[in-house]
Symmetry: C2
Subunit: 237 residues, 2 copies
């Protein structure tokens, strides 16, 4: 491990291997919900999956211990279910700073389907919660979701590039009002989802109550300084 002024940079290989497994699982998930092979082939695939599970199950961390690759200072959360490169549930979404807030592109496969050929309405809410929280964090105002509200103007198509935006509209004390949108990337003015959220930075005693038992990978007490849903921002672009 190398210590850097903005956090800890892990060795490249553990990060690359976790990202590789995330990518492999994401691909298998999408294939598993669209395959039309015979049941015997599904069973054979399940056997391979269980073989992989056995290899990984020999050593595990509890939920109260942060992953070794996470960094609470820079907000890197490797297994965040929207942005985490190691999360099989995440597309994953890469959130970038924009002039006025944050922006991200995403293309969602059949695994995210609600009504036939469209994104599940709840998935739009999941992605907006993450993006709104990321906008708050990018503005130095991390917080936890207190209120989330979405208007659905039309269904989001699967397998189609989408653009998501969010910005802090107002803030006062520990509270931020954040707004966001989702639109087709090819027609970004055709807003299909509009979202508003209120994110609140918990008081110190709440941080202690919520996160007092959290430890880092070495077992040290490590209450996160930015415990929001909302942390990873790619500053490389």
């Amino acid at each position: 491990m190398t210590t850097h002024q903005t956090g800890t940079i892990p060795d490249a290989e553990p990060l690359a291997a976790a990202a590789d497994l995330g990518a492999a699982l994401r691909e298998l998930i999408e294939i598993s919900v669209t395959t039309t092979v015979v049941p015997a082939e599904l069973r054979a695939a399940a056997a391979l999956v269980r073989e992989a599970t056995e290899r990984l199950a020999v050593a595990r961390r509890p939920a109260s211990q942060l992953p070794a690759l996470d960094d609470v200072v820079t907000g890197r959360r490797l297994f965040n279910p929207v942005t985490g490169i190691g999360s099989p549930l995440a597309p994953p979404v890469t959130v970038r700073r924009d002039t006025d807030g944050v922006v991200a592109e995403v293309t969602l496969g059949v695994a995210y389907e609600g009504p036939p050929s469209f994104v599940h309405g709840g998935m739009s809410a999941l992605f907006m919660d993450q993006l709104l929280g990321s906008a708050a964090a990018a503005a130095g105002r991390w917080g936890m979701t207190a209120h989330l509200e979405l208007d659905y103007r039309g269904p989001l198509p699967l397998e189609t590039p989408l653009v998501m935006r969010a910005r802090v509209a107002e803030h006062s004390g520990r509270k931020s009002l954040v707004t966001g949108t989702i639109a087709p990337a090819e027609d970004p003015d055709r807003i299909l989802i509009e979202a508003r959220g209120v994110f609140v930075m918990p008081r110190p005693e709440k941080v202690e109550a919520y996160f007092g038992a959290i430890t880092d990978a070495s077992g040290r007490h490590s209450p996160p300084r930015r415990p929001g849903d909302a942390t990873p921002i790619d500053d490389q672009d």
Copy 2:
């Protein structure tokens, strides 16, 4: 295939094999985000995952074609990302009718984490959207999400049984106002999430515009009669 008055009952083995693969993948996902094995073991697991992907990738359906095991009449959606027994993204949630609406229990693992040791705020929104839609469908009022709103009273703990409820509060024409809650199963009066949603049954011309290209597994034109996010209800309980 056997035809039943409320829909088509598939042979047991294809359904069981798809559910088995879903269960195996779900377990691997949870292990993959909590394992502490060395990178070489992650790479070995990824290789097994890619072997499984290759087996399943030989025959696939497009997004416009419903899975053979789905049933648009009874609303069985095998790969729904909240309730689908075949979906690796789904816990999966089993929604049952209750006196006044619908109810479901769920325990969420680390794969669903937002802030350390708590459920991602957007996941609460995903689950509430599904449950509210299911309540509308259970009342014979299926629809697509038009508005969704959540108040977060406190963070939802991971690895803890939760109870989710939803009921149609009001309806008028094609519109239903549905409310819902999430609470710890052991302390069901301690409501941590409150949700309200408006679900709208699309007009026939919208159904045609949205779903006109959907076919069933045999390639026949098959616009869903219940295209909501929101369909599977377990009437066995």
